[in-house]
């Protein structure tokens, strides 16, 4: 399989996509010990999740979402020492993010012009459940060969075209679709090997 071409951001992206070798608990322990690299990894690991809760779950605008994003990680940094169960860092961050989003609405400092009553202060539970499922899928994706991680992430999460993906990874654009299909097969096997399927297919994030 062809090696990905380095586009300047590829190394960081690879680091992000393969950052799941360390368990959450081990990562938290290293952060608590003052390991800056561990902190960087923790931010990388949960950045999409926090971003998605703010933007998709609570439909925050760009400025509010950025404020929430930075506030959440500042609080995580300050309060990591008080976390009772290091394995529970993910639900803890999710809860913290929801609380910061709600505080944002209640403070009246949000940027939206919409009527507050019309805003989804508390997103539908199935929307947040879908983000949980999405996080699990991304974790499973991190176990795939690097080329599969890159192709799936670029196409579905970054919305890149076949041409862009092909150019960046040094692959013929005409082969991207079949590669995506094969990688999704691998992902399904990996994901279903890791997880018990939910009772429902998960809710739509609207």
């Amino acid at each position: 399989m062809e090696a990905p071409r380095d586009d300047g951001q590829a190394a960081a992206r690879r680091a992000e996509l393969t950052a799941n070798d360390t368990t959450d608990a081990a990562l938290v322990a290293r952060c608590r010990a003052g390991d800056d690299d561990a902190w960087r990894e923790l931010v990388e690991r949960f950045s999409r999740y926090v971003f998605a809760i703010a933007v998709q779950g609570f439909r925050l605008g760009q400025q509010d979402a950025e404020d929430v994003f930075q506030d959440v990680f500042a609080r995580v940094y300050e309060r990591l020492g008080s976390l009772r169960d290091d394995d529970a860092v993910r639900p803890w961050i999710a809860q913290l993010t929801r609380r910061v989003c709600i505080d944002r609405f209640r403070s009246g400092s949000h940027e939206s012009d919409a009527d507050l009553d019309e805003l989804p202060e508390v997103p539908a539970e199935d929307a947040l459940t879908a983000l949980e499922d999405a996080f699990d899928v991304h974790e499973a994706m991190a176990e795939l060969p690097e080329n599969c991680q890159q192709i799936l992430d670029r196409f579905f999460a970054r919305d890149e075209s076949y041409r862009t993906i092909g150019d960046t990874l040094g692959l013929p654009a005409g082969t991207i679709a079949s590669r995506i299909s094969r990688c999704l097969d691998k992902l399904r096997d990996t994901f279903e090997g890791r997880n018990t399927p939910p009772a429902t297919s998960g809710g739509q994030v609207t």
Binding site: E44, Q70, A134, R158, R188
Partner: protein
Amino acid sequence: MSNYDHEQLSRLIGLLPPAPESWVQAAQELPAARRGLDQLVARAEADAAFRAQVLADLEQALQAEGVQPQPRVVEELRRLLADD
């Protein structure tokens, strides 16, 4: 029989796009920024001339301390010095 088809998996992948790189970077630099701020404030508390110099150019002071002068960090420094 599989409970996850390609459509479901692709939808779930797409639910978590990357956060803007600058946001991630700013959050990742939080420990270094906190240390830099603490050092600046400690020196400013002990040295009035240095405090005036920092207040005159917060961004420069942060850069000299090796801290990226992100707006949020600049504001935090301004607040900390005002609290002195």
